[in-house]
Amino acid sequence: MSQTEYQSISPADFFYRNREIAGFSNPSRATYTAVRELLENSMDACEAQRVPPDVYLRITEMGDDRDTETKFYKLRIEDNGTGVPSDHIPQTFCQVFYGSKYTLKQARGTFGLGGTMAVLYGQITTHKPVQVISSTGGEIHEFTMMIDIQNNRASILKHNIKQNPSKWRGTALELQMEGDYSRIMYRLIEYLKQTAMVNPYADITYVDPRGRLYKFERGTEKLPPLPESVKPHPHGVDVETVRRLIAETKTRNMKNFMMEHFQGVGSITSEKFLDLAGISGKVKPKTLSPEDIVKLVRATREYSGFKRPDSSCLSPIGEELLETGIRKELTLGENDYIKVVTRRPSTYLGFPFIVEAAVATGRTVRKTHGPGITIYRFANRIPLLFDESSGVVWKAANKNINWKTYKVESDTPLVIAVHVCSTKIPYKSVGKEYMADQPEVEREVTNAIREASRGVRRYFNRRYRIAREHRRLNIFSKYLPVIAEFSAKLAGKEVPDIEPLLRIVSTDIPEVEKKLEEVPEIVEDASE
């Protein structure tokens, strides 16, 4: 009989053993995930600093004459973001679950995991340390570190401090890893392009292992508003959250506790809610029994009088910026049409979210994307590239919408881009590949696409009408001369002048154009 051994492992150890759940399942996918995690951290850092991001990314193949597809690469990324304070650098890059994003506001990363995972993966495949150079504007700190996996902490090999006369601010990171660039090249470039699409204020430079330079230039200097940290909304809390709040609260009674720690709860709401929960407003929070806490959390689901969750913690891209980004990366021109809508905030399970949708069509779209629907998906400004047909956007576009309503035929070239931003994106997995079809999210995504598509329908209608008018004029200018010629031959006379007649028909056209402008917009029931 064998004896069962019990042991505990560190979070770093856990992810070391289960790296596929964080997206490091094989060398090509690991290359993609590492770039993605590091790039997203850089973008977040720049936005926090309110500067348009300048990100430089380079992947170099290491001298290696092995003839396999799996090779060693050096990955370097530099940004002009906030920089990391020197005393946080070791934990930030070498400790799993350490970060600045565990607050209730929209951010790209949320787990405090991705950056460190890239470092961890590099270390276990190459046994090389990571180099981090960062400054918050003062001295420049250079760290050479490795992760102590068993203890989930940094082991610092070198730490140099340098002067910073040019006041450089930002972070540079360099690591080595095993990877497979050739298999992931297409996706990686597509990822960068789509990142540029929803971050039109970012400059991204990429030098790939073959030495090619990809430059995604910014189309604007404008940044969307920075999200704010907010208190939790009562609908979204669970027993553990309430327990923690009680443990640290300074309030003396439940009425004040509700008002102090939750958003949108005033004196009246607090009283009404506690009434429903069956808990007195005068009771001291710290005396609540575990049963009372469960009762309280249940009541949050039943009480309907709370305000909508505050959306100031969200940072939608905005119609103008999103249009700029898409026009820029899809090189849309005069012959293309794009309609972008930003929906009003909505919620699911107590989490606020905003859906933005863009629908584009036209000659360039046909040339670059071919006929039919092409979908781009974004969550908190991150492109989602995998498992398209499992995601909520695919379902909304292909199952929920009757495209005939919008004059879209099966061969109409159409690009649909959907951005969902939320404090908690309803991802299906830790790898952040696609969004689940949460009913509220699905409804909002569907309605956003519909709203934008109504613009497309107006565009098509208008185009059809103008085309018809031009065809009309063409018919006149084609046949009238023939009628004139042969009637003159019949009569034995000179050909009569048809210019006055053609003038009559061609002056009709501006009138028609004017009428088109006056056509009232068709307002549809949003529920359709």
């Binding site: 018919i475 009637s487 019949l490």
Partner: protein, 361 residues
Amino acid sequence: MSKTRRSEAERRREAMEQSLTGLGNLIYEQIANQEFPWIHMQSRSTDNIMYDPEERQYVLGPRMIRRHSRNIRHMRPFTQLIWTAWFAKELVRQRKTSTLREVYYSARGQRDIEYNNQQESDNIITDMEVALNRAREDFHIFPEERSAIFGDLTIEYTVPGYEGRRTNLTDHPDGVMIGPAVTSSEFVETSADKVLVIEKGAMFTRLVEERAHDKFNAILIHTAGQSPRATRGIINRLNHDHGLPVYIFTDGDPWGIHIAMVIISGSANAAHLRGLTTPDAEWIGVWGTDIIDYKLPTEPLSEFDHKRLHELKDDPRYTGGIWQRELDVFLELEQKAELEAFSRYGLTYIVDEYLPAKLGS
């Protein structure tokens, strides 16, 4: 007689040219006045075609339509009409003739006329007939010829290169094809005292071989199925201008009966035209009663024959005379008989026995 005749043909030609010039002038004046050109014509839609018992043929009703070049849908047919009118004028002026098919292909050579098929072109030519109230043969446009004429009739050609040349139609034992030259010729003289119209080429050849034209003192005409307009025009002239009675001899089935009826009373498609019908012509067989009287070999009526016989019974042209009686006989017998059925009594029976009996009665 021939002198005045020739000037008659020339007069018709000049009148035609004037009519076409008139159309050109109308359009020209409208454009010169900065108007979108348009023309008036009788509607050819089915609800404007009615049977006129007085005229004993179909005629167009009073409803008029306007073909207006301001209307985008009329633009192309309007242009086609003017071009076709010009083409016809060139034909008339140069004393040339053409066929429906040739007109269609000539249009294909003209930019912006754009016919999709010959049917469209034929339709425009019919429009022109209605608009100018003339038959297309007057515009020197003919269908493909397939019918023929034989017998003692001397004609004088008016076509270029043959002006004044005469021929007797017995000169050609196969019969003379009824084409533009025969159609436009003057009928100088004939010793015949009747016209015998036959539906089928084989029977026509049989009658020529058996010298039926001598025996019955008749001009023989072969229609090759439903008779072309030019042939109907010639039958009309022989009857109307030369006073020859006309006898029609077809298969004993609904299709044969209707070939006879179209010669007698015309078709709905030609409701806008006069001078193509011969109301006094007689259908002499093969009747339903002949099947009984002559014990002819028969075939059963098909479902389609049946339906057609009932349609004919309801047709206003079939009121009175022998028509209803004979239609009923066919329906009672449930049988039909072809011209060739008489061959059971020998090849000459039809000339020796049947026709004398019929023409005698």
